[in-house]
Amino acid sequence: MGFVDAISVVWENQDLTIRTIEHLYMFGAAMLGASLIGITLGIAIYRHKKFATILFNLLNISETIPTLALLVILLPIFGLGARPTIITCIIYSILPITRNTFAGLTSVSDEQIFVAESIGLSERDILFKIRFPIALPMIAGGLRIALVFTMGVVTLGGLVAAGGLGAPIQTGIQLYDKNIIIVSGLWVGFLAVALDGVAGFIEGRLEVRK
């Protein structure tokens, strides 16, 4: 079988189009949820700095927990499918986003704040018009890290009946079919690298704009 033929056969048989859409849907939902929660949490911690150490210590622990372990532990609570998958993604992604949001907000120099205060900006204004824009590159960095985590966990979702591109990979392993493994594996890998690349590009442009 020719190379291109092999790909289209696998694509058809494994419904890769649908799987891809499922995959991206879960990815999008998780990223959205994680971003909203993460950034808000970051701003909140920034406002109440005393809790910073405790909260970050807690969040740090979540990073060491193996992804599959967390995913399966949530199954008795949330059942199978997309729900536990998305929730696991969010739990993992919160730390990098929150941490980078916090770091970005605190990275603004005292001088710049002083100038802003002298012009007459309120605490709130300063937060949203000055700190936030300056923190943007760091926040983008955090989102990028979350992006890679999320793609990884969504792929695992295939093991818990969430669909997505993890499913054909699992099928390929169980059937010991090299073509299926290669096509679906490389495809999800390509998507992940491409998304990461785009995020990196955006991060770079934001950095330059400063």
């Binding site: 622990i61 990073e63 060491t64 927990i65 193996p66 992804t67 599959l68 372990a69 967390l70 399966v72 532990i73 199954l75 008795p76 199978l80 890679v148 793609m151 990884g152 969504v154 792929t155 695992l156 295939g158 093991l159 818990v160 993890g166 990979i169 699992q170 390929g172 392993i173 010991y176 090299k178 493994i181 290669i182 679906s184 594996g185 490389l186 999800v188 890998g189 992940a192 690298v193 998304l195 990461d196 690349g197």
Partner: protein
Amino acid sequence: MIPADIGNATMEHLILTYGALFVSCIISFPLALISMYNKRLAMGIITFANLLQAIPSFAVVAIVVPLMGIGFEPAILAIMLRTLLPIIKNTYIGMNEVDRSIVESAEGIGLTKWQIIRKIRIPNAYPAIFAGVKFAAILANSIAILTAIIGSGGLGSIIFEGLSNLNTDKILAGSLPTIGIAILIDVSFTLMEKMLTPSIYGKKRKK
């Protein structure tokens, strides 16, 4: 659930994790050293490898199958593919980022390039290497669970068994130990770090 099974699975899991970590270290350190002699090439390779780190671990584990089949050795390869880069990168950066004035005075008093690496760059890199190996250990622990699906044994197999008929007990029996191991790795590395650091950078004044 027979404790002996969990015990065996845990042993398999640990051998998998630390075995892969160990081999990764042995390969990574010489590679990082070689990179010091050709920095452009090294940076190029590191940048390229960084991109590949974005690939989901599950895909990496799967792709090893067409290459090496299933079983213990392919699992080690899968884990290594993930852990090589963090260790090499951290070692390289740790050795590279030495204060310019320290390198200059070392050159000026007559140390050869290799002597500078041995006596100055490597000691300087210890914290970074440590952080890299710690990160790799946590990663290895995580992937060792996945490799059960390609026949490596370990705690992952218990989890997968539990998944196939939604047996919560099995699921927990498989996953909780891995979390325990992860926390253990984190804590023990942090402790080791605290113990090792003062002697490298000068003792606090005793008085």
